[in-house]
């Protein structure tokens, strides 16, 4: 019996190694949902804004709220001068459980800070409490936060992702990287086809 357990453990090691660290503060839905969708995006990317504001609400209504899909935001830093700073504030906000309001604000006012670089005013506007603002400012300089941006971007690049937003769908151990910005009707068909009958 011990031998079978040892064989099972050894055979599962590659799977365990492949499992990525998930920042639960950047995730929405039931972690036990049958379908997992990772969204590799960048706050400076207009298509990501479109995804966040147009497609994500539909996904939330149709699949995340009913517990069918677990959706996780992933950083994929593009070569834009304000990209890293925006991620630093967003991930810092995630550390105090305020990721979604900050992400919403960054996308809503993307056209402003994208050009003038005044990211903090947008982030501060999404955090009513002065204490939260102070924490986020401090955490945004934390090496762990900056390392998370690098780690997620590197992970995306090593998975062959080269543009944003890229959705990676995982179900039953199989992973499907989707073409960027898919049509919602096709995404819906795919998820419906993957969900257990």
């Amino acid at each position: 019996m011990k031998r079978y357990a040892a064989i099972l453990t050894v055979s599962l090691l590659p799977c365990l190694a492949a499992m990525t660290q998930i920042d639960k503060n950047k995730a929405q839905g039931n972690p036990m949902a049958p379908v997992k969708i990772e969204v590799f995006s960048d706050f400076t990317c207009p298509h990501c804004k479109h995804f966040h504001e147009e497609m994500l609400p539909l996904l939330m209504k149709d699949y995340v709220v009913p517990g069918k899909v677990y959706i996780i935001d992933r950083a994929f830093q593009l070569p834009h001068e304000f990209s890293r700073e925006a991620f630093a504030f967003a991930i810092a906000a995630a550390r105090i459980g305020k990721y979604q309001p900050v992400a919403d604000a960054l996308y809503a006012k993307q056209e402003n800070w994208y050009t003038n670089g005044n990211i903090w005013s947008v982030v501060a506007g999404a955090l009513p409490s002065a204490a939260d603002q102070k924490k986020v400012q401090e955490l945004s300089k934390d090496p762990g936060v900056l390392a998370e941006i690098d780690a997620e971007s590197h992970e995306g690049a090593s998975d062959g992702i080269n543009q944003t937003p890229t959705l990676v769908v995982t179900v039953g151990g199989r992973t499907y990287p989707l073409p960027p910005a898919p049509d919602y009707r096709l995404l819906k068909s795919m998820i419906d086809g993957l969900l257990p009958k």
Binding site: Y176, P177, P180, D183, R185
Partner: protein, 139 residues
Amino acid sequence: MYWTALVLRVIVGAVFAYAGYVKLRQPWALFAMGIDSYHILPYNLVVLTARTLPAAEVAIGIWLLIGVWPRIPATVVSLLLLVFFSAMVHAELAGQKIDCGCFGTGDPISKWTLLRDGALLAASLFVTWQAFRRSPKKS
């Protein structure tokens, strides 16, 4: 010439059947998203193509492999490859960073994929030319 045509026919047929098989093993909507990323076809045609093309590729690829009445499958394969290659060149020239969708996902259009599909198209055209040049028995 006969043996060259025979070898190329087997290669093109096998590659075509394999490409369809790989797509059939994936969700059809994934292939549909790949087609849609070219921004060439309207939604309904994207769905129709994604639903039917993989099975057709397998069938035509096997037909070409078997070699019965080779003019028909060779012509169909050549026409399809011409369409695929044109779409890929168009996407490359337009600067679209998309997957070619040739063998499922994870195959971005590059000089390598263009060279590969271009070579396949050239081989297919040669096979078609040979099929029409020779009598059906000899082909």
